[in-house]
Every structure is written in C-alpha cells, then in structure tokens.
Subunit: 408 residues, 2 copies
C-alpha cells in the first residue's frame, strides 16, 4: 500500500535547490530596494565624499604649522576667515595661516588637518593660538576615503540593508538593478481542508499552510498568489498546477505529499512540460514527505500536509530557494548559544529540527524542547528557535551547549 | 563655543523610549498581518482540531482490542469500512471492530487510537490482522490538543510570525487587531547637504541618512514620509518640524544634533506644544550627539549627522522605539558567538558598538573590527555585525569571545 521513499539528505536537497537558475533583473527606485538583492557588481561612479572634509569643529591648518604645539608653547596663526558650509572656500592657506571650519566643511587648499576648537584660544585681532600638534589627515575625511572612483563597493547578490541604501544614496543612485521577486503560487489539497474563513464541519479542518507559508514567502521577498483549495482529484489538481505555472516561478503544493493516494503529486509534477523529479522524500524531521521537481526553469515543490512539518520544510528548503532565485547568498544563521534543558532522541541519518523555547537566566540562555506532534501548529507557536540535531547523532543531551537559530 | 552635554546611559535612554504610549489598534486582514504586533490577548474561540484526528494511515481501533498484539500473535478484527476524509464517519466501532483511516481523517466513535498500516495484514473477507499493541491516544490528535476553547494562545504584543498566522487561520480568524504602524517623518538638515538625486558641488554631499534610516524604519514596520532637506535656518526648521507633527508619531531630524550652531535642534523641539527634553547626548559610540524629546504623545528625535553614527543610533534607540510604539516586546538579539581578532580600546562609562566583519573557520566565527570613521558609510557596509563593549570596560581583547549581533 505504501511506496518507500528514497530519502535525500538535507544538504543534497539544498544543493538541488541551488541548481535552479536565478531570475532576471529589474530596475527599482532606491527607496524601494531594501531587502532586495543586487543584480550586478557595483563600483563607485565618483570619489566619496569628493573633497577633504572636516570631522570636527575647529581650525583648518597645515600640520607643519602646529608641529610641537602644546599648552605651554602654542602655535600662533593668522585666521583668514570661515570655511563656508556647502561651498568650496574661496581662499587658500599660506604658511602660518588658518581658517575656522565646522564639522562637514570643506578644507581650503593648503590645509591638511584640523585642530579641534577645544585646543584653540583667541590671541587678539585675527590671531589664534593652537595648542595641539597634529599629523596630516587628522580630523579629515580624505576625498576618496569613503569610496574611490571605480572601486567595486558591492558585489552581485548583496542583500541591500539600510547601510547599502545609504551608500547608494551617497553616490547618487536614484535606483538600482536588483533581481526580481520570485512569484509563488500556493495550492492546498486535501478533501478534509476548507478555506480559513469557512466553518469546518465535523471531520474538516481549515487551511493553515497556505497562510503560514505565504507569510514566510513574503518575508523572503516573494510575491504570493493563492490558487485556492483543490480537492484530491488528479485531473483537477493537474489542471491547477499547469495553470499556476503560467504565473509562477515556484508552484507550492501543500498536503498531498505523503505516500499512498497522495503519491499523485509526483505523477502530476512529472506530467508538466520538461519536468524532472529531483527529490521525493528528505532525511529531515519534521518534514520527510518533501517533493522537489522542476518543469523547465520553474520549481515545483510539495510540502508535507502536517502544519508544523510544512513550515519547517519551508524554512529549511523553500526560504533558501527564494533567496537563491534572487541571486542571494545564504545569510549567517542568527541565534543564540543555549544550554539544552533536557535530552532529545533522534535517528541517525536524519537531520532533526528541534523546536525550543528560550529562557534567560544569569547563566545565559536555556533551550527547552517543545514536544508537540508535527500535525499541530501550537508547537511552533510556542517555539522561539530551532536546534539542529545532525545526521551523525542519535540525539542531544541535557546540559549540552547548542546553537538555537531564532524563528523570526 | 561648545556647550557640554549631560550624557544619559544607553539603558536610561531605552527606558525613556519605553515611556512613550503605544499607538492605537487597527483591524487588518490575516494575510496582511505578518510582522505586526497583536493588540490584545487572544484566546481560542473553539477547540482545534475540533475532532479526534489520525496522524497516520492505518486502522482506527479501540486500544483494548489490540492489547498485546504482536507479529506472532495478531489481533483479528472486523473491518467495517473506510473513514471518509472531511466527514464524520456515519458508523461507530463496536468491540472487535476496526475501520480504515487516512492521515487527517476523523476517528469514528468507539475508536481511541490508530494502528499504522505497516502493522496490518488482510485476513480474508472483511477481516484484518493487526500486529501492534497501542495505548489509547496513539497516533491521534485529540480534539483540543492544538488549542482548547477559551485558552489564551497569544498575548498582546506578540509579533505575528508565519506560525502565528497559521494558528489564527486554523481558528478561522479572517483578520486581527494589531497596533497600527508608527508614522515617521524624516527631515534632513545641513547647509552642505543636497538631495541624493542631485550632483553635489564642491563642498556639498548628498543626503544619506534620510534613505538609510527610512529603510530601517520600514523594516521595523513604520510608514515613512520624507519631509525633505531643510537649510540650517531656525525659523524654517521649526516650521518643518511643526508641520511634520501633524502627520507623524515620530519626527526624526538628522544632522543638527551636535553642539554649536546645531544646538538649535533642542530649542526647536522645546518650542513644540507640550514639549519636554528627555535626552541631550547619550553615552554611546558612535552616536553621542543624540536628542530625544516629546511633544505631547509624539516623539521628537535628533540623530547625529555622521552617517554611521546616525544608523547605529537608529538601531539602538529608534528601532526599539518603533517596536514599543507597536506594543512589541524587545526580541532576542540574534547573532553568533565569535572570537575577536584584535583588541579595541573603549572609554569607561560609554557603551561602544564595534562594527565587525565575520569570517568562518573550522574553529568557529572570527570577528574582525572594522576601523572606519563614523562619518563614512562604508564602514557599516563592510560590517556584518555589532559587538558591544559595555560601559564598565576599557576595551575588548584579541581572542576574547564576544556576541556579534547581526546587522540585517
């Protein structure tokens, strides 16, 4: 009655995920680019800041004119005026001369450093005493110190954080070429499933996976289209998948991926044009009945029907796919070091994702495993993080230090 | 010429940030709720799944009928039919009877557990041999196991992740009350600053902070309105701040927060209705010239002009403010444990946020401090994470283990 699955390891699945081709690029206004992935390497189109700029309020000088200056033996200089903000000074400094300057101001020709105002005192008329020795470049941003013309500042695939947006603004980029958002079509299957806004009859449950997985897709930058619920009817399901492929880069089927009657998912995926089955079952818990196939350049994915399995599989396989389709590198996993509060058993040859609840004491973080069947969503709701129990391990021990990757 | 600032500690500033009143709630469709913060505690409106549900494909039985069953001594039961998917079975099990059931199916009355199909074999006619003993509840989700009617499942202030969206869908919530998004108005000041899409003349630089800080605000769920660049002109700046207060919950001024001519920021903030100065200078590096004030319930914030200082201050003070205004708790800081590659000096009494670049070896993560003046944006672009050097420390040492909080 059941066909046996040939399970692929998590790393094998991830390497197949990376075999899909990243999407094409699009040009986007700078203020809409946050979180997107840069399509090309990007080099500075000019020097930044573009002129020698003071980082303090004080006196622009030539270093040699304040050489050795100190409290007891000040350097006496002639102040020739104020450096205007936002303009090039219309004077230059001759030896023995200085000019007042504010933070952000442009140094006049002849000046190579700035003495902070705290180290100055008026000395009558247009004279000023400076009591601090400086080296050339002190309190100055050089004209190409933030970026030098032609230097590659950002590489293709960089995820644009606030600081990258700032750098692009600093260099006058009104927009940027980024990889376009993946389009994801979500189909739910199962004769027992009803839409979430409908009252289930006895024996029915509401559709959970469409909504939880859609939220995850959007957080990874994808556009989502709900294709609705399809009954467990091969012809209807096949038509729905075919129809979804017109729109989508990724067609997600939730439910229908266990062995048994639900094996039809594989047949349906294989009936699509230019298709190939890549994964039928993954060595992961929760989430074993995971399916990955391609139709041309497009991705067909079958997520388990169990609600927690579906979401863990989506985090482990779908999120990296969506980042990869956008040309992005895998980010550093973000979490905390924690001590496991009790032992959990696992099976060798399988990667387990253990849901944990974190709590903090003076001794640091403690991770309490949440034991809840994968068919319940409440276990993931209680969980703050996932702890990996690797393939070569039979479990994790109480008191063991683990890395708990936060579930955001 | 310079007034001295009375610096507040980072923790003092954060506690003042939390003195603002969270915003009002709004009702939002479920699929738009991801990342938002729940306005009220929320209890299950019904039991979930609502019926006893099989978690496997197999045979629904009464545990006592398979008590002691094993390979050599099977239990022989009469199979009375199939449990339909998505419907209540129209039969109940008498002692000695069983029914076929699929994953997700509803158990018939009389059954209290399920034997997996792997442990069954046909025994002619409508008879079946089961070779596994089970306890009541085995392979069954009880009718209220995911959620019991009336139980508080989510508390006010919960940030809605994909799993919370899933739970809300499972219980039929078409929408939810969340705290509304904060509205942030961003003003940039400085006579040397020009809009980012304009070619700067010598002595001018493009506006960076509006764009980098806006990206950070949006990532924290805020709506942003650019109020444009205002010259260093007290009357104009005051009018702009007053105008921005009509729209905004938070008015951000970037630049204009150092001592000197730029002290006018404080005066302008204090000229707003029902205003109070909360912070004028914070014991933080980078970012010292930070200003926080209130006007009634609204927040006025002055960020440093230096581009990296502005963004670090925004991460440390503004992001928590935006979460607090949405009623959210501070999340667990996400990062990695790393070994510092070289020493960095700090000053006692100040919290330093050291920008680091991460690299991975077999020994784990290494954090290399990025030394770059705070007036440059490139230092933050190179950085993967921030490492805190606390107030009671004079620095961090090469080889020291540190927590590197990722810059997302």
């Amino acid at each position: 009655m059941k066909s046996f699955l040939t399970l692929k390891s998590v790393d094998e699945v991830l390497s197949l995920v990376r075999s899909f081709e990243p999407l094409e690029e699009e040009y986007i206004a700078l203020d809409d680019c946050a979180g997107r992935y840069l399509a090309h390497d990007w080099a500075a189109p000019e020097d930044l800041p573009g002129f020698n700029r003071s980082t303090v309020d004080g006196y622009a000088v030539r270093a040699r004119d304040v050489f050795g200056a100190q409290e007891g033996s000040p350097a006496l200089l002639e102040c020739v005026g104020d450096c205007p903000m936002g303009k090039a000074p219309d004077f230059s400094l001759a030896p023995g001369q200085t000019a007042r300057i504010l933070t952000g101001g442009m140094l006049p020709d002849g000046a190579d450093c700035v003495v902070m105002v705290e180290y100055s005192r008026p000395a009558g008329e247009n004279l000023v005493e400076l009591v601090r020795t400086q080296a050339p470049g002190d309190h100055v941003l050089e004209r190409d110190e933030d970026a030098a013309l032609g230097k590659t500042l950002l590489t293709a695939g960089t995820r644009l954080r606030p600081q990258e947006i700032g750098l692009l603004a600093a260099l006058g980029q009104a927009g940027v070429s980024v990889t376009r958002r993946p389009r994801v079509a979500i189909l739910s299957t199962g004769d027992e499933v009803v839409p979430f806004d409908q009252k289930p009859l006895p024996g029915q449950v509401r559709d959970v996976n469409s909504h939880s997985v859609a939220a995850l897709c959007r957080a990874e930058g994808a556009e989502v289209r709900f294709e609705g619920l399809v009954r467990d009817d091969v012809a209807k399901l096949e038509a729905s998948v075919r129809n979804a492929l017109d729109f989508a880069d990724v067609v997600l089927l939730s439910g229908g991926s266990s062995a048994g009657m639900r094996d039809h998912t594989v047949d349906i995926f294989l009936s699509m044009p230019d298709s190939e089955l890549l994964v039928h079952g993954a060595a992961i818990s929760p989430g074993k009945p995971f399916i990955l196939a391609r139709s041309g350049k497009k991705c067909l994915m079958g997520l388990p029907g169990h609600v927690s399995s579906a979401l863990v599989c989506a985090r482990v396989f779908l999120a990296p796919l969506l980042r990869h389709l956008q040309g992005g590198e895998e980010p550093v996993a973000a979490g905390v070091q924690a001590v496991l509060s009790r032992s959990v058993a696992s099976a060798q040859g399988r990667r387990d994702f253990i849901r944990v609840k974190l709590s903090r004491s003076e001794k640091g973080w403690s991770a309490e495993p949440v034991t809840s069947p994968s068919g319940l969503i409440s276990g993931l709701v209680q969980a703050d993080a996932l702890v990996v129990c690797p393939e070569n391990s039979e479990g994790l021990y109480a008191g063991q230090e683990v890395f708990a990757e936060l579930l955001r």
